[in-house]
Symmetry: C2
Subunit: 307 residues, 2 copies
């Protein structure tokens, strides 16, 4: 399903989940569906459509099952959802979704805030949930939050991340996601961790990079340089963890698409189509977006040689 | 004067010139001097303090001689200024400034808009101005505007840039500045041009990168990866060419400093000091700055583990 060549990258679009979960403007089910459908039309092969989490804590993620039911299932787009525990995995299985991202945190402090458990409890939970999903034929991405540097604990020892990678490998996940949840990683750190993960497994690596310090796209480029071909991004640069105040959003999908396409690396995503999504988000959110392409597409620069 | 090691980079601060030249808020001489002095205290070894250009066309650059006269000359900071023609070089010589950046454009269309001359006329002008300056002991950086992609002409053929590099080498400039004036270059293009310039000369290369597409810091990192150790940047991400509407500012100095320092690469610049400059600029300009560190330093994230 995931096509990779030297001259292409695979971008999972996260705005319907990570993107809107932190926004104060309320997204109705119809608005979430419309956003996902528009993103699918832009060419994203995989879209994270929601999360099977406690909607009392993350209200925007309510009724992800209903979203899935109402989306077209034409085989072109893989719908994925975030899962954080066995309860969520049960809901995912019941919903019929074919792909999930199961995340644990590499930082105890963050893990307790985000999921009310230690890292070790997170691993034990994954060992119960993921094999069950795999046995039902579901594709599972094993994700590690705060894989680089935690805003609460500082630098995360790579050994702790590698222990989680090892566990995910034993669970036979289809993909490892290394998440810079707080957006504090820098390129040499990203490159080093990728190398160490590859030393112990050959599972494909996805990077989920936030842009708190403005290093998001630099880290993506650095990772691409060492062969990473799968990335998460979020239209309009939206996103952030509800349990880490001050963290910035994801890399803006449009800026990532623009970078790779400029370099001659295919993304499969139709860049001008993303201007439509940016317009939808801007109308809805009524706050500035951290998106260079978004700034250009809304200003005088359009048709002046920049795009 | 310029110290370079594998683990350090040299950043020339451009906010007092490229930064403020495009701003509608008027900077008095005292404000320009105060900005420069504060930047010098932050540790920048070289600061572009103004330009010897026609102040009817670029009003903020008026009286650069007076700025130079009133700045402290303690040997710690090199003051530089932009020069575009023989007349400007005459003023530079008379002012007693020790370092200038002499720029020509690699794009005929931009050259005519910016300096009312063709590229060839620009080269001939440089051949008159630069040897005169060198014979008076002045250090000269030879700069090439639109060295990568012109918003008006599209991709700039590397051969045209190399012809300018060759000319600058014959003039024995101390440094070559490759400027992405419109902010449209991408990393492979930057790496390729650096390689081709090095094939014909061993003059140190400085990069001047705008951030129109959000690729500024990515390009800087890519260039650093192939050994470039000199960069221009501008506090607050200010800047832009008055003759290219829609172009975004330079890479924010604070984000560049933060990136390199995070990587263990010394810049000599005191990052928290830049927060003071950002505060000054924000008070003066009353518009948002495209600066991640600036966003953090003004919001709740301070003292929450991000900085």
């Amino acid at each position: 399903m995931v096509l990779e060549t030297h001259q292409s990258v695979f971008i999972e679009e996260n705005s319907p989940r990570d993107g809107i979960q932190n926004e104060s403007a309320w997204f109705s089910l119809d608005e979430r569906i419309s956003l996902i459908e528009t993103l699918a039309e832009c060419g994203f092969q995989r879209i994270q459509i929601g999360a099977f989490v406690d909607s009392r804590k993350v209200p925007q993620m309510v009724d992800t099952e209903k979203i899935l039911d109402q989306l077209p299932h034409n085989g072109k787009t893989v719908y994925s959802a975030l899962v954080l525990n066995e309860c969520g995995m049960g809901r995912a299985l019941a919903s019929g979704i074919k792909h999930v991202s199961y995340f644990v945190s590499a930082s105890d402090t963050h893990s307790r805030k985000n999921t009310n458990r230690s890292v070790e409890e997170g691993i034990r939970s994954a060992f119960r949930a993921i094999p069950m999903a795999k046995s039902h034929g579901m594709a599972v991405q094993g994700g590690i939050m705060n894989a680089f540097r935690c805003q609460l604990e500082g630098m995360v020892p790579p050994e702790r991340v590698l222990r989680l990678v090892q566990a995910f490998t034993e669970m036979e996940v289809d993909e490892i996601n290394l998440a810079d949840t707080a957006g504090l990683a820098h390129p040499p750190q990203v490159i080093e961790l990728i190398g160490r993960v590859r030393d112990i497994c050959d599972t494909p690596i996805t990077l989920h990079l936030h842009d708190t310090l403005g290093f998001g796209l630099v880290n993506a480029y650095a990772a691409w340089n060492v062969g990473v071909r799968r990335f998460d991004a979020s239209c309009g640069g939206l996103g952030g963890c509800p349990f880490i105040p001050g963290v910035a959003g994801n890399i803006a999908s449009e800026d990532m698409v623009n970078l790779f396409e400029s370099m001659g690396v295919r993304t499969g995503v139709h860049l001008p189509g993303l201007a439509v999504v940016i317009g939808m988000l801007r109308d809805k959110l009524k706050h500035p977006l951290w998106s260079r392409y978004g700034s250009l597409s809304s200003e005088t620069a359009v048709n002046k040689g920049f795009m």
